[in-house]
Symmetry: C2
Subunit: 623 residues, 2 copies
């Protein structure tokens, strides 16, 4: 891929940074964060402002443009991709490396005295605003909200904000009605003595009302806010989506309801003024609950004394703990997903030696097989279909310029997933269609050992996921190897493939404790720039563990893999596995055989079934 | 031990809380933190205010007294001890348990509206003040500094602040002169563009000037502050200690020196007014560097805009990385310490069956053997000599009321250490002088597996210690067991046995990365209330590790045990060890034999040598 040429765009941006039509006073720096007004990770095309200005379109990154400089902060997953996509106007700031300055420190080092740093107050989360504003102020600069988004002023062909039809989910999928979710939320509000709760994250709005949308690719969400009072429900949403009889019926918009369950539908754009009105009408001690990641603009709408900010909202926490209906749905979705991948890998095994399968062809084929499954909606993220050196680009997405042909000489890494109406999947398998080298097998086996160490870990109730991260790295560390990303993220139930508040990463400390019913990914990896990438990822469910003893009656937890796709035994150096690890692989493969085998049989996919049986032969350890 | 009766004291305290002689306005609550004006963990008798008012004398705990309540917050190490030492006036707040309120939340729940909460501004660290003040203010209360310490007003027989002679350490012990330390500090100050650095922690003053004292039991420190400017050095210290010719010579007080190395000696009590004078004389951009744990009183002496606060000071970080002279000193100290313990355990093995050895006798005997070693100064903490159920009291100290007799039927846990002029030791061994039960051996072996998992861990340069904590727990977790304390702490070099900024604990996230030369303890445990305690502790040195590969050229680290005392093989269930763990034990014991054996031989301690040889016979694993 060739970098985006941004010289002209940066020139234009630097002009509007001084243009009194847009800024009260000139700003010497302008921050372009990744997110949208809902602090989403995946965003609609109209919100891809950072990609527009820089060319770098990874899922995480913050651009800062000053009069002299343009710099991009991103993390280890994207170092290579960002370097490829940005032209020489840009400096790449590699987060997580020792010598990389923070955005604040860098700004202080490059700005002239008494500078103004602008940012769109709807895009920057309140907690980031606070941190950055404080750091800048202490160095004599000012962070200022710029009402009109300056990227939008130069983005002449900016696409429209999407407004697609909604999907209603009944109890068989959600397990709990939206009314009961509102009741539970109000009881949490009463516990904390707050009168209002502002729902700003798109997946939280979708989860709360048991609705799904398709405004954002891969994430079944729709643009909306909600404000829940103890006796009122306000839903801020645009378009004619509320005219759909199924939606009206689902939300009981035309029924005679107790007033506290009557949903008032309001225009999406009116959230700020409505929230300001709420803020102005508060009596002493009436608090308003917001995520501390809500936008600065909405947070400021509530006078400071009335704000109740928490890192995780009660919806975020409730959503993370899947109920029986959701768990069963996730199980079904993962079985269907495994069927599709067995078909794919069987097909690849036959086709790759012919030299006609490119990364894009393979990704498309994966989507084709998935789309044949019941209740398939769309992919859950852009398929990472990468072979050879492309595998080392952790969040690689094949495009024509980089598209490599799969061969029997290179490792192939496929990280893919789908949205089904009953669940969300996310699975990575690393395969070799020829004969892997001893070194490739060695590295693969260390990654597998790490994967198993997490998946089979037993830990006390109340343990935070970050305490498990080192388990995934231990085998790699022993040989001087490592990987520069976290080990796991929360996974939604027919919702975002990345969700809080739990995960498995050395980078966070503020994650919520794991509890039974939570679903996370387990995905250690190993990457060699310029040669190959290895990752083994399952989605796993937190379940109670039976243990010999039970210290302080705390109880223990462990994981059950929901993903049931064979791990290529050809890539395993069995002699590096312990007996316990070897048994884990064999038991996992036995379960794949039984559960996915039965579904392949039912669907009459006999060739894929034969592939599955062949790929799940037990490993034999040499003693 | 029977609890301290505090009814009368609490009544007196509640009176002075309203007495206009001491408080401008009545305070409805008074906080009594653990520390002294230097935020020390170990404190002088005159600073044991929390123990005086409550009876609880563990090393960590905060008391809060309101008009109606008296509550004590402490952590898992002290739940049992605090419960034993406090009378029914007190409520024990078990930190770390889910339902325990924070001090702030509890205050808000019990205080009448608009209350004032008092605290001694010299005792409360600035970061705690800030957090608590904010929480109270948002609930309509006020945290107020009370100049006169209210405990002192009712503590009629409060002991005098100690003022003992100083010890000077030459280059053979410290490796770096105090002048060179000042030069290095000033270069760190220049890097951060600060003009002044305030040394508030006692061990930092001692380390900086290569002096030691004995004002605080177990910690070779002395009451002093220092204020280092780019061209000035001020040392705040009382008594005639500066009249000692050795000290005068060491500090070159009577030499003609470049002015920037001339030490101005000032009275200890003048620190606040001197610092206020510094604060008043600052030009714009002249910053003053303080630890964010410095007292609120000293922090407030510097106007906010001029403060530069960090969680760890440059002295704290430099002090943690031991140089060659310090490392060699620590090695020597640990060999001498092992000699003493070999003597002790050999003696115990003979004496325990007679039924005459109590916990106190054993502790005294340990001190006796240690005091026979060269350069012995004192113990490094109160010896934890505990048998049977007393072993489950994690920071137990035997007193006549609780003193149990060692027997062949109970586990004995000895956690002890000493200050030698060349180094500080801290070692825990858990022994059985009869025949341990299968269950005791099982638990011991899990703890041993955790100890080895940390000690043998290989991890990348730049890894923080908290990422290793779970390794110590994994074997226990597998069986549903755990322990409620961290796994390791930094250890000083003839300094405090607990020091920052590194450690191995699930509780902290702000530790500094481990680097070669740092020294920490590795001490997992397992405790059953009412029956026994197990802990295996070595002090270990961070050293570079040789690895097969070297990802991103980061380099790897591992640990080398400095403690060389046999781990009782009788307590090990060999069948629960992996081959690798078994080899670790055998190699460790081989090193004990060689290194400590040679020293026992040299000292002519032949019986203890025979004991060592017997106790370090290799384990044989049944295949």
């Amino acid at each position: 891929m060739s970098p985006k040429i941004t010289t002209e765009l940066l020139k234009q941006l630097r002009q509007v940074m001084k243009n009194p039509r847009y800024v009260q006073e000139p700003v010497q720096a302008y921050i372009v964060p990744s997110g949208d007004a809902h602090q989403s990770e995946y965003i609609a095309p109209c919100d891809c402002r950072r990609a527009f200005i820089s060319g770098f379109d990874g899922s995480a990154g913050t651009a800062i443009i000053t009069e002299q400089h343009a710099a991009m902060w991103t993390d280890g997953r994207y170092f290579l991709q960002a370097a490829h996509q940005m032209d020489s106007n840009w400096t790449l700031m590699k987060m997580g490396l020792k010598d990389t300055p923070t955005q604040e420190d860098w700004l202080v080092s490059v700005l002239p005295e008494g500078s103004k740093v602008g940012v769109d107050p709807f895009i920057i989360p309140a907690d980031q605003w606070k941190r950055m504003s404080k750091a800048l102020r202490s160095a004599g600069h000012d962070l200022v909200p710029v009402k009109e988004n300056l990227i939008n002023t130069i983005w002449t062909d900016c696409p429209q904000r999407p407004c697609k039809p909604l999907i209603t989910l009944d109890l068989s999928y959600t397990g709990v009605s939206w009314r009961d979710k509102i009741v539970a939320l109000r009881s949490k509000m009463a516990e904390r003595k707050v009168m209002w709760f502002v729902v700003t994250a798109l997946d939280e709005v979708a989860w709360l009302f048991n609705l799904r949308g398709s405004d954002v690719e891969y994430n079944p969400v729709f643009f909306a806010y909600a404000v829940i009072g103890m006796n009122t429900i306000r839903l801020f949403i645009d378009g004619d989506r509320m005219m759909d009889p199924a939606v009206r019926d689902h939300l009981q918009l035309d029924s005679t309801l107790e007033p506290e369950f009557k949903i008032q539908v309001m225009p999406y754009g009116s959230i700020l003024s409505e929230l300001q009105a709420v803020g102005a009408g508060l009596s002493p001690k009436e608090k308003v609950w917001l995520s501390d990641k809500a936008s600065y603009a909405l947070t400021e709408a509530i006078p400071k004394a009335y704000r109740y900010l928490t890192p995780y909202t009660p919806i975020c926490i409730a959503k993370a703990v899947k109920n029986a209906a959701e768990t069963e749905g996730m199980r079904r979705a993962h079985i269907k997903d495994a069927v599709a991948l067995c078909e794919l890998f069987n097909w690849l095994e036959k086709e790759v030696p012919k030299g006609t399968v490119t990364e894009i062809v393979a990704a498309d084929k994966a989507e084709e097989f998935r789309s044949q499954q019941k209740d398939f909606v769309e992919l859950s993220f852009a398929t990472i279909s990468s072979t050879g050196p492309n595998g080392a680009i952790i969040h690689y997405k094949p495009v024509p310029e980089t598209n490599r042909t799969l061969s029997v000489n290179e490792i192939y890494l496929l990280d893919s997933g789908a949205q089904y109406k009953d669940g969300t999947t996310d699975v990575t398998r690393t395969m070799h269609f020829g004969t892997p080298s001893a070194y490739e097998k060695e590295c693969f086996t260390y990654v597998l050992k790490g994967h198993i160490a997490v998946s089979a870990a037993i830990f006390p109730n109340g343990t935070k996921g970050h305490l498990l991260d080192s388990f995934a790295r231990s085998a790699l560390w022993d040989c001087g190897l490592d990987y520069l990303h976290g080990t796991g993220h929360g996974v939604g139930s027919f919702l975002n493939v990345h969700e809080g508040p739990c995960g498995i990463s050395y980078k966070t400390f503020a994650d919520e404790p794991l509890e039974a019913g939570m679903i996370v990914s387990d995905e250690p990896g190993y990457y060699e720039d310029g040669s190959f990438g290895i990752r083994i990822e399952n989605v796993v469910l937190v379940i109670p563990a039976e243990t010999k003893y039970n210290f302080k009656n705390r109880g223990s937890l462990t994981f059950e893999p929901l993903t049931l796709v064979p791990i290529q035994t050809k890539m395993i150096d069995v002699n590096l596995l312990t007996e316990k690890e070897c048994n884990w692989v064999n038991e996992y493969h036995q379960k794949c055989r039984e559960v996915v085998g039965a579904e392949l049989e039912r669907q009459g996919r006999h060739e894929a079934l034969r592939w599955l049986l062949r790929e799940t032969e037990p490993l034999a350890r040499v003693q």
